[in-house]
Symmetry: C2
Subunit: 333 residues, 2 copies
Amino acid sequence: MKREIRVIQYGIGPIGQRITAQLNEKTNVQIVGAIDSDPQKTGVDLGELAGLNTSLGVKVTDDSAGLLSDIEADVVVLTTTSTMKNIEPQIMEIVASGKNLISSCEELVYPWKTQPEIAKKIDLAAVDHRVSVLSTGVNPGFLMDFFPLAMTGICQEVRRIHVERIQDARQRRIPFQKKIGAGLPLEHFNQRLEEGVLRHVGLVESLHLLAAGMGWSLERAEDIISPVIASKPLEIGDLSIEPGMAAGVRQIGRGFVKGEEVITLHFEASIGEPAPRDRIVIKGRPDLDVTVKDGVNGDIATTAIIVNAIPTVINAAPGLRTMIDAGLISFWA
Amino acid sequence: MKREIRVIQYGIGPIGQRITAQLNEKTNVQIVGAIDSDPQKTGVDLGELAGLNTSLGVKVTDDSAGLLSDIEADVVVLTTTSTMKNIEPQIMEIVASGKNLISSCEELVYPWKTQPEIAKKIDLAAVDHRVSVLSTGVNPGFLMDFFPLAMTGICQEVRRIHVERIQDARQRRIPFQKKIGAGLPLEHFNQRLEEGVLRHVGLVESLHLLAAGMGWSLERAEDIISPVIASKPLEIGDLSIEPGMAAGVRQIGRGFVKGEEVITLHFEASIGEPAPRDRIVIKGRPDLDVTVKDGVNGDIATTAIIVNAIPTVINAAPGLRTMIDAGLISFWA
């Protein structure tokens, strides 16, 4: 990466701000624009907004169309939303301006099964404008899909893939602790479950990405959520959790081929989990049992993989890419 | 992988024979030719030679030029030798016939530092004939280079990479046990060391591949071999090892940038190793500590990754590729 990479950031929320800080550490990156629809952020310098002790000389604008047509850039980092419905018009605008795009949108990580029509539309537009579009993150994107897929590369046979992501939420940000329902009485937990707000978005996408990579046509996919129930009193910051309350969430994804469960994705995040880990178990020839000790810190790793993906997405073939065909993402300085 | 893939095998030694068996399990692969220079193998059916209980209708020939010009194929699987010097003319002949090439040649996994002129020559010829050339294996190719590189994709910062491949040679083939000097008195071990036959070929290639992927320009690379000395009597098959004899080999590769050791590759294989494992430790943000329990069986995994790489090399951009830019290799049925 000799020459300078010109980056526009679109979406300056918590993830976008941490990406700003990380991009600011790179010597060959210039942030040339920042977009956010929040009136509170408009006109503010990006460096200030990201909590850096320096001005970046880039003011946040809400005029995406104007900025995208006026400013040349190699790539847009799009961190606005988790859903395809909301992100589609933003993507179409970016692609039409002839810029590559890396996103953290969970549903975009593998939309070909869940929202094939929008996926097809984005793919065609990207091919048309000779740009690549990729969405990734630590999960979905890496731990439960790319990583197990890469491990199967050394297998002569694969019968079954089991992935665990078991986290101690004490080590995560407070919004994450709230997101997993920690400290809720069970009736509130179940109520929030019905509202659909407790769900880890992306488990189904990981399931479909992994299946696609394996060439497995799933006849059925499950995604079942339940509370992790505190068995003893737990304290964290201002939060105290009584026994019987929710300490977090457990979400199990299963994929079936010919009646057999060939993929199991076990996501669990709770306050006080004693054995946090990321683990991949492959039943095949050979069997593989791979563990990341203590698990991967999701806040750090998600911004890392988005930033690390920038050269990959710039060099990828035009179209809507996934972690299967985008090319290797590794650290660059 | 819908359509049939036509494969020529070049080199029908132990690895080639195991690849034959594995290719024979694939429904959409047809082996259309087999080349070996050994007169004992010429004219023999490939299925018979590979110990399958079936004829494959393909007789081994020593006429590489004739076969390569007469027979159409998508890819040649080249498993003849570990060295660039010996493999170069074979590669040039295959590339000139317009066929993609996947090899297990250790030095070819990353030849750009050790033998840049031959690498350049192969690259130019491959681009010229619009075919891709890739060499890989479990080690070098995956465990000590691609795998740690892929893990850095979730890091915001990487200061140091340490990789361990610690094997119990009891679980490997007898030629492997001999190759690591198990059961030799130390003076014989040192003598064989001087002859250069105890070396695990590929450690330096892993070091350079990993450094290239990280964008690190190594000012110095070390590759130091020593015996693992038996501390108690060991028995395996016909082999008995007395205390003080070599039980196996330890080989340490180190890469330095600005006086700092940024890469350490620790390869060790001995009879009776109590804690076999493959392990990657990354010092950075976050730190990562990843372990493959019991380690990966190299005999199984090397043929696996060669076969799994076939679709990848067919779809890769023309030229001499490495595991950095070849594309994802994962299992396919």
